[in-house]
Symmetry: C2
Subunit: 350 residues, 2 copies
């Protein structure tokens, strides 16, 4: 009988953060692709676009004029999915029809006034300002009585449902812990209670020894393709020190964090020499006024592309009904990302 080879044989891997399994079919990337291709967005945007509702000085749909901001600019989402309104609600105890009103605040964070930039093309100092802004927002939003969790995220690229190429992210803050956070917290807590250590600290220590899934590291952070990654080039930034939220980062750590965000997003752009789409976001301790020694600050990157700038991985039938499935091994992806240059392809001197 042949010996098992993780780069050749179908297998399942366990995601200890979400407590679920995924399917890996490393041999499958070889199949030809005749399906849908994404259209590349043209990449000659002006530094200021008079039609962009995020550019400095422009007027938004609701009549509000953006200030002439010079680094980050935060405002409440004009089309918020969550509202602060308190409503009268009588709950009927029905196990199969459970519903509860939800309150929250949605914000938009412009990363830069320059319409034609993206995180990988920004200076580290400018990314530091973004991290600083996230800190302020986590603190401010979390200070509301009715806000128990603050989700910071970015949808980059039209294939990720982003409707405006101006560099920006979002923050959704709310009363309940969202489903993915509940699950993650449950796993982190169970591990912490059992071992009195952080799951992600122990995990990162082992990854830093094994090295085959590490993409980049600096003094305070590492980026790696998690052992249980589902998206082809999914990565996670994990802090080397065990702390629970963005506020706990010192000045040096803040700078390192900005550096590693630049590092991984530059590699992403270099992969297919395109502005690489992804959804990314920070997972951190809730703001529910309870101590959370189990939480370990981290940031996920979920990019859809698989084979080229135009061919993505479809998480569809089997993935929706059965389980997440990937077509190359995490180790193969990590090696590809690790071997890419650290300088953005657009700034290459030839």
């Amino acid at each position: 009988m042949t010996s098992f080879n993780p780069n050749e044989h179908p297998h399942r891997r366990y995601n200890p953060l979400l407590d679920e399994w995924i399917l890996v079919s490393p041999h499958r990337a070889k199949r030809p692709w005749q399906g849908q291709k994404e259209t590349l967005s043209e990449d000659n945007r002006p530094e200021h676009d008079a039609d962009c509702y995020l550019c400095a000085g422009n007027v938004r749909a609701n009549g509000v004029k953006n200030p002439d901001y010079t680094d980050c600019y935060v405002f409440e989402n004009d089309f918020s999915a969550l509202l602060t309104t308190e409503v009268n609600f009588e709950s009927k105890e029905q196990s199969l029809f459970q519903l509860k009103p939800e309150r929250g605040i949605n914000k938009v964070v412009c990363f830069s006034p320059k319409h034609n930039l993206t995180l990988p093309e920004m200076e580290v100092e400018a990314i530091e300002k973004v991290v600083q802004t996230w800190k302020e927002q986590y603190l401010e939003l979390g200070s509301h009585d009715f806000i128990n969790y603050v989700q910071i995220f970015e949808n980059k690229g039209s294939v990720m449902g982003c409707s405006n190429p101006h560099p920006h992210g979002q923050i959704w803050a709310q009363s309940s812990l969202p489903t993915q956070i509940e699950k993650t917290q449950k796993s982190l807590r169970a591990y912490y209670e059992k071992n009195k250590t952080s799951l992600l600290k122990d995990y990162l220590d082992q990854e830093l020894k094994q090295r085959d899934r590490i993409v980049l590291e600096n003094d305070h952070f590492a980026v790696l393709v998690p052992f249980w990654a589902t998206w082809p080039y999914e990565t996670i930034i994990i802090s080397k020190r065990h702390f629970g939220n963005i506020i706990a980062m010192g000045n040096e750590e803040t700078k390192s964090f900005a550096e590693i965000i630049k590092g991984i997003t530059v590699k992403y752009d270099n992969l297919f020499e395109t502005s690489f789409p992804y959804s990314s976001g920070i997972h951190q301790a809730p703001t529910d006024r309870v101590s959370h020694p189990e939480w370990h600050f981290h940031m996920h990157f979920y990019p859809p592309l698989l084979r080229s700038a135009t061919v993505k991985k479809f998480m569809v039938g089997y993935e929706m009904l059965g389980e997440a499935q990937r077509d190359i091994s995490p180790e193969q992806s990590a090696k590809i990302l690790r071997d890419l240059p650290n300088q953005h392809y657009k700034t290459k001197t030839t």
Copy 2:
């Protein structure tokens, strides 16, 4: 204080099958959309396409010639994600790096030799043949020692990663229960043990009384937008009788099932007068030779479109990192689907 209105106020709903919550923002569909639009696939396909590897009589990439089939045709996927190969594997007990080899069989099921048809455009008798084929496959695949679960599904439309418009679905059969099946089974079992009844039977009985989420029904099945639906026009077909798998369906039920599949897919096509994309699939009892009184046969439809034939719902940043989120209420969607004609728009006499 305003009273809670589920068609107006943000709220969360509980999915008792997956044991997780989703966010409903019914007011949010009003926001303007400036983002990505899907391209419509041209819809003048020939009945037989010489370049299609699924059409009767054509030769596939691996040199195999398809027979001149007249209704359904099943073959092993030329690019299977799962393989039957048994491999030697030594498991190391490591909680953060868990992996196990997986065996399985992937099949392709052509629904019709006619390249230019789709389920909603097929006769009920022809859909009955498809259901018959699914029955045979469930039985045959499930009879293998190493197959414990059989996932029958369809990816329809290029936006769902379907690379060939020829009417077809897939079957992935494997040793382990996939993640979504494990979760569903856990919920069904807990409910069954507590109440000695089927969760979905009790749920359907209540829906048939309330009626506001019912889309269609016949003697043996109902289609409804589940109370906890995440995709804008997500539906579920539930059998009125409590049985666990497709084999348990009698002749009348088989016919009714074919009828209701036609019914819902015709409504879907009529919604935006387009060939409506979705991923669909049957959830049913495992083939693991254990009795499963908790299982209740059902079929999910997960369609991505939201506003029109070209604007889909993006399940991205918040949805991937926080929780699934929908922009109209399930009751609004159900009413829209219910009010659509039952005759396919292409066959309308004007």
